[in-house]
Amino acid sequence: MTDLWDGLAQALWLVATFDPELVEIAARSLRVTLSALVVASAIAMPLAALLAVRRFRWRRVIIAILNALMGLPPVVVGLVVYVMLSRAGPFGVLGLLFTPTAMIIAQVIIIVPLIASIAHQSLRDLWQDYHDLLISMNVTQWQKIRTLLWDTRRALLTAALAGFGRAIGEVGAIMIVGGNIDHATRVLTTAIALETGKGDFALALALGFVLIGLAVAVNLAIHWLSRTEREGRW
């Protein structure tokens, strides 16, 4: 018990003094996840808009694939990415395994379906509203998509935040493809797993606090966004 209290006190101390190791790991986590978020949003949002406004042949197939991917356990995504990037795999020559880039790739695959499906719902609803007007104004496909993306920007931000929350808290996949290498691919979640295993509760708890802080901030932001949306302010 005293161990735990000691650990807690030390953890708070680490957070309060911006312990260099803690800061390094937290910064890497943010860098990897924000990169993954930017890439994933750039893929998922236009894709969601296209799925909302166009009836093309592969539409149902793509939606089915996205849904299937959303249910995929992240560990499996990690495994697949590992196989692809490993020396014997098709992308082995790129030498990406055990780099932050590999972790970004895995996170992108994990959150694209999530972001796309949340975004798709709002975009589809708005398109039902806008359909008659935009068709009547002869807008081009590209203008339709831009208009929809812009006018659902709040919902899209919510989708992005959900993606961020999912990615930053993910362990299995990035552990496999990143390897949890000190000063290279160690991030909040993998470090927590490691330090807990080693019995170093102080650092593990400190890392946990940072992670919880980020998660709470994300949820507050989502809450605030949905409230301003309901109040019709934009």
Binding site: L126, D129, Y130, D132, L133, I135, S136, M137, N138, V139, Q143, T147, D151, T152, G232, R233, W234
Partner: protein
């Protein structure tokens, strides 16, 4: 004056799952002014307007403008019965059609401010459009339709659920637009409004043109029993 007309409609029909909603409609429209489409609920007013605008699929027959269809479409605007409000400010809603056509943002906004003044929305430019009242939304939709200077404006029951003063304002805007050379095709089930605005009348019954012609003639001496009954306010089906 405008190169859209004459409009020639021959045997135009819309079907849904084998059932005829509207048609066959034969109609020729030319000249200026307002053509008012009247008829009981469900007689096909909305469908006919959408059909003429090219927003509903033609199952058979032809609709020919004096110019190619694509060009005709660009010279038209449509105000829907329930106006569609973009989730933007009043100003950005009105400016939208210009921005779509590539007008610079500053110029589009300046013109939009102008139109907002004209329709009486000048003091709520930054208000979110979806929270406007019904009458204000209708006026916004009108400004947004007129800012692109359409040669032809469709209006589907523009004054349903509006009270007297809002209705008068909207009719004034329409009268001004007509005077400025915009051809109007509007549907209404308000006979008072039809008499005030119409130059031509198309009387629809069960999806077909039952009677059509110059407004004065139609209101003075309706040719058919049903038209007489409808004008008297009797129930016609």
């Amino acid at each position: 004056m405008s190169d859209l007309f004459p409009l020639t409609v021959r045997g135009a029909t819309t079907r849904r799952r084998g059932k005829v909603l509207v048609g066959p409609v034969d109609l020729t429209l030319s000249g200026n002014g307002a053509c008012v489409v009247i008829g009981p609920n469900g007689s096909g007013k909305t469908t006919l307007l959408r059909l003429l605008h090219g927003a509903a699929r033609l199952s058979s027959g032809t609709i020919d403008w004096a110019c190619p269809m694509a060009k005709a479409r660009r010279a038209q605007a449509f105000v829907f019965q329930r106006p569609v409000m973009l989730r933007r400010s009043v100003l950005d809603n009105i400016a939208y059609p210009l921005i779509i056509r590539g007008t610079s943002r500053a110029q589009a906004r300046a013109q939009a401010r102008d139109w907002a003044e004209r329709v009486g929305l000048g003091d709520m430019l930054d208000r979110a459009a979806p929270v406007l009242s019904g009458g204000e939304q209708q006026k916004l939709a009108l400004a947004r339709a007129l800012i692109g200077q359409p040669k032809l404006l469709f209006l589907d029951e523009p004054c349903t659920a509006l009270d007297g003063s809002a209705m008068r304002e909207i009719e004034q805007i329409l009268t001004d637009a007509k005077a400025a050379g915009t051809r109007l095709i509007l549907s209404t089930h308000d006979m008072g409004q039809a008499r005030r605005l119409a130059d031509q009348v198309v009387f629809l019954l069960r999806g077909q043109v039952h009677e059509s012609g110059p407004a004065a003639e139609f209101f003075e001496t309706p040719r058919t029993e049903q038209a007489r009954a409808f004008l008297k306010g009797d129930i016609v089906e």
